[in-house]
Symmetry: C3
Subunit: 139 residues, 3 copies
């Protein structure tokens, strides 16, 4: 059994979901790992990793709208606002979702369900370059 790390970078341009599923698949393929796990970890506190339906873009728009209402930018009790009104909400949205996700690899393939995709979930308005670690453990 071996461990392999790969880095991904994702350029974001505003709040919402950015799919990285194919990039993760290709990292696994490049190592020829047959059985194990792959862990995706994002090195930031203002964006997340989530698994989400990847077929219908209306689901992604509704998700974004839900989070905008759940964590409003104009909450009058926020004191951490040095970087703008989307600063504190970005940390809360991150805490409510995930920083890492671990998926099984079997028969040489990441075992996602039919409708599952892996996404970087951006919580900031401004463009960002996001860094992700992909760790493949297996044999």
């Amino acid at each position: 059994m071996r461990v392999h790390h790969e880095k991904l970078e994702v350029r974001t341009h505003g709040k919402g979901l950015y799919e990285i599923t194919e990039k993760v698949h290709s990292k696994i393929d490049s190592y020829g790992v047959r059985n194990g796990t792959v862990t995706v970890f994002v090195q930031h506190t203002s964006c997340s990793i989530v698994i989400m339906e990847n077929a219908d873009p209306t689901a992604q728009g509704d998700l974004e709208e839900f989070f905008n209402r759940l964590v409003p930018e104009d909450a009058d009790y926020f004191t951490h606002s040095s970087e703008g009104t989307d600063d504190m909400p970005s940390h809360i949205r991150m805490v409510l979702t995930r920083t890492s996700e671990t998926m099984p690899i079997a028969d040489g393939k990441m075992q996602l369900g039919t409708w599952q995709g892996i996404f970087l979930f951006e919580h900031r308005r401004a463009p960002h370059q996001r860094k992700i670690f992909v760790t493949i453990m297996g044999e």
Copy 2:
């Protein structure tokens, strides 16, 4: 160190928690793994994996009621509704909880705390057959 995969299927009949703790314990026992981790991954976008108190059923009812209020089925801004009013809420509830969970195995036993149980958290009203990957890594 080796990796073992097992599949679980859970038949659900409406929203709420379905405990799978004993099934995961028995998969670990069957391989005789002494030290490592076990990762439980659900292959769907409309149900989740959560760890929850397993002693008092009133806690599970309150949890379900909280999520019904947090993500109401009749939110007027949802556009992703082709499969019914519980469709979009099911994706949001999944994003707010977890698709995978990783637990330590030490001395041949999964190291849950006294009150912890592992549950599939169903977010759809209709019956579903849910598929779960259990990945045991260890020695």
Copy 3:
């Protein structure tokens, strides 16, 4: 590739974040693992593990206030209240956050981003002794 388990205990005194980043770093150092993963798992259902901004304490106060409003202690529909008004909210806050988190280890170091810290997120008012498993897998 080997697996190493370590236990951490954290003494809490009320709701909020308690940083454990340095303790996790030192466990990794003590084994000299160069490449792999570290999984932090908390053995309770009324506190969580989260990654959060570790630079500005105002962000931690705002996070606590957000959760107090999202999961109010005086919700009139809670029935699981035998241990007090913060009992059921503590389980909900745990389900909305995380019980485990997995971080990459590369070049002998846990690969957190610049602003990321690992925290125990306490959801109970009374003091508690919290037990955490730190599992290091690698070579």
